[in-house]
Subunit: 340 residues, 4 copies
């Protein structure tokens, strides 16, 4: 059955498999000190417009979030996130496991608002009991968010301004970064994003790779001994080449954005299919149609999708995700099933 | 330059790449709930002779060690290991990061002795201050050890008997398990090993896979919610299929042991080359020749290898590792360089 | 200046100082194995009507909360609390420091509602992503709450019923337990409370002692090696006698409830003074008058109190606390200052 | 029965109890912001000759060690200690609980040697795998050591020089500091000690107080937000006055050293009693006589003492501790029992 459940239903982009096969028997050092990683880092630095960036390759999203956050916080600090932030809900407490609290503020279609962030931080510092509370130590946002929405350049600049005012680094979770940057609803380029944050990662797992996330400290500002922290968190791959070869391929000839744009094209068509019943106006690769239980039941026998939440009236918010691998034929089929 | 530095210098066995390519566009659920993982688990259960085993696929060795150990210990417990145990030295404190102490006992060519383990545990429980100390909560051994040595069946049974006497689970780190089982110096089969321990893992990264370790709880004795613990530790792969396809391939038609045997054949030849100057009589894929600094220097321009430690007299203990990928020609070349 | 800031502004009840002086030079074993602790434990077991209870003496509230919670949770579990729960806000992330998330649900004047707790747990278990989330592992409530309110017996039974239904232990933070039990608004006795929860503590620090909290596992259900966990958390006092002597005194001739009743009498008078402007109808020793900034400013030069929060209209919610040490003269003075 | 088991068998020095009684009903702010703490801090700064020192009062030794160590280390760092260091053995893994490894080096009568410390650090940095290992982040020594021995000024300077060379802070655990400084075998003054280390603590629990350890950052170099870290570790006392009053008393008119000197006088007499059978030549308040099992058995019915370890030949190393509370009559009695 055709699945729109998520953007990690297939393996890797064919060019990645080809590159893995081509380089397979070349001997290379372990732990990311191979020439494939070096090449990929150089291409990522160039794509980000950050010649001094420190780049590290980790394996998965939750791992990357918890490793980066633990490396950047002091023991008494927590990370501020929107209530729907992935780290706050769906990472099994990985941040808390490393000893830090996720400090949540309100969300609006998955995004935090700069003024609410400022208000939270002002209130914290005005609180006579602040010394008895977890100190806000960094700000986490996801781009796109868990609801497929995007921060505009102005919104991101406003958040960055608040971060600067309070001396907090800004961390952007880019597990689906390509699908954000490739969206027509995005007014940010990768270099603009890189310039605005203190650390971010370029998601590979959901954007064409078998696995892998490229962590970028754009200003050469990686925490001391980050390599050791990565190892300590179980996030260091012996065959780092697996990540190097993949990101080298994704950042050759603009493949990363090219396959992301394809996913967005497919998502636009999915959005059109459900036009009259969208929960959120998502500009990226995840669409959230509202279905009645009967509609969902009828559709379930034909295509796969996820149920995101249940509305008070019983209707279901569902999620249909496209990816680099989604074919026009799959969307045609979906359309024929939804509107027979 | 030809490298004998380690057993993770190349990519994956060609059959694995083929399988990845063949299955690439098949849509499958994420997080290890795909049919490839199911198939691989079934084959592993059969190979282990443990029809009730719980099997999980994690990504790397340090990650697997710290996740399994944290899942099996209570907060006040530590893990007993030989002083040279990988978890005690080369995992950047991953076990301590999860809150547990590594309790070390003496090592003999990388192995712990059952009687010394028993003596340690007896002394602990006889100590009037035991309540003020970390409680021993499990026993960790590596097979093969960090020095390439193997526990005999009798040695493992003796350790298991001590574990049973003190109510401690036995965990076998099998990062190089294939190279142990395939050694002529091994008098244990995989089912015999599985029967003797409470949890172990079958190393993929160093035995033909791009990445991946298969954790086996042979008696269906996985800790409750181990899936969530894996997620919490950043060890859950979204595209679990990457691990499933690889282990399915490795456990089809005996590939895992077949390629391990090849590595051992190559290692025997390396051992013969250095016969007169071995630091340890290793029966597996790692050999530890002693070289003078001059010899090492001369060789370094021709092949790559690791320096393991420096002896008091200034000579170097080096490590030459073979793997599934080592070719007879590479060993011929090494021989010609060593004995010109 | 007279202070109503908190209930830990003075030292200890005079009888405690007398007992400390009387027993001072008697030699006794350390770490809580002294006869004073034994005597205190026996009296606490009797007062609680729980002859099989395990009783431990710890030093302070935050320490007790984090130690008990860590001891009762498995690594993948979190603790459910009201949003205003002390562990969720004012303990500097002590629970997260030990690796666990505080899972918050709505609060109503500081209390959680049994039906909302049930709804939260139902939703959790119905969530298809539950395995990717922190598992609820216990329920935490404070009695009295951070807003001085009390659970009725019926409310506590309802919460307990939800706990039983979901297999979760119930932990009652009794940092101010005496001031709850002694309130006319309380329809629970200490034995009834003890019977309803799985672990609770009897606050000493705020109820007449220099320091100390008595943790009670009413059914003899202390976690294994809890002593070692206490030590590991830095919560074990070498001179455990300091805690033993104090609790022995507090539980001799009903002193604990007697001094608590006095505090409640004083609080009733404070409540009367501010009758027309109370933020919450608190039946215990903390009262929360609403003052205009001008009123607060005027009063501040005369008595000390705390500002709890600022209302949207700019008025201040303040806190006036009484204790075992509050004198009628102090309340007279307050009255004269407020109503001149 | 008279006990020489430890130096925490009695309550507090009578002057401390008097001070607690005298100040008991004075209202004061909580959490160490009271005038008693301020006064005590000023006196400690003066006694240490460190006018800029940051001083904090914590409750117990294990708690202080783990809080200070966690506050000073980054996540990837561990603390170097002698194998017999209290943190390495008898603190139930409190350091590991906060995520850090204790890195042990050899001990000599409880002390580390500067040259062995240097050799360890040199070897670490020369190790090609250093990035895969816990980074040494600070050095911990105890003064006096767990065996009652003392570092000479020259030895401490040598250790400090190694610390400076490797950029590591030096932490001195002074749980029994008074008994060290008051020993005729000590060639260090308190100001000299303070000048040589980066953080140390002045033990109260074992030197006349009911509880309490005064942490001193001699150069005003407390880690940022150390107050919050103390709270997070459950080490913040609500009634901080309890610690302030005690240390204020101990540092008034030289009481701390005076009562320490008394203990040393008593220890000298104990040492003389066992002169011909001492395990270690301890210059401080702990003496370690070697007794045959028969001798120990005979003595056990008359006085209390601790068995420290069993020698290979079956004889027992025992510990007899004196303290501020030991009376000449108690030592007379011991003498009469040992040499009847």
């Amino acid at each position: 059955m055709i699945s729109f459940t998520c953007d990690y239903s297939e393996g890797a982009h064919p060019l990645i498999l080809e590159a893995l096969a081509r380089t397979n028997m070349i001997q290379a050092p372990g732990y990311g000190e191979d020439p494939f990683c070096e090449s990929a880092k150089a291409k990522i630095r160039e794509a980000c417009g950050t010649p001094d960036a420190d780049v590290f390759f980790l394996v998965g999203g939750t791992q990357t979030n918890s490793t980066v956050i633990a490396a950047m916080l002091r023991g008494y600090e927590g990370v501020v996130a929107a209530q729907t932030g992935h780290i706050a809900v769906h990472e099994a407490g990985a941040v808390e496991f490393s000893g830090h609290k996720v400090l949540t503020i309100p969300q609006h279609e998955g995004k935090m608002h700069a003024d609410e962030l400022a208000a939270y931080l002002e209130a914290f510092h005005a609180d006579g009991s602040a010394d008895h509370m977890v100190q806000p130590g960094m700000v986490y946002i996801s781009f796109p968010t868990e609801y497929g929405t995007l921060y505009s350049k102005a919104e991101l600049e406003a958040i960055k301004a608040v971060c600067l005012r309070f001396g907090l680094p800004l961390f952007v979770d880019g597990a689906r970064l390509g699908y954000g940057l490739a969206s027509p609803g995005c007014d940010l380029t990768l270099p603009e994003l890189a310039a605005l944050c203190d650390v971010f990662y370029i998601g590979g797992t959901k954007v064409g790779a078998l696995c892998g996330e490229a962590v970028v400290f754009p200003h050469g500002n990686a925490p001391a001994h980050f390599f050791t922290t990565v190892k300590q968190h179980g996030a260091l791959l012996a065959k780092g080449r697996l990540l190097g070869v993949q990101f080298d391929t994704l950042f050759t000839d603009g493949l990363y954005l090219e396959i992301s744009r394809h996913a967005i094209e497919m998502a636009k068509r999915v959005k059109a299919i459900f036009r009259d019943r969208l929960y959120i106006d998502s500009p990226s690769n995840q669409q959230f149609p509202i279905l009645t239980p009967a509609e969902a039941e009828a559709l379930r026998g034909k295509v796969q999708f996820e149920v995101w939440e249940t509305l008070p009236d019983g209707r279901l918010v569902t999620r249909f995700a496209t990816s680099w691998a989604t074919t026009p034929e799959q969307v045609d089929y979906l359309e024929s099933m939804v509107k027979p």
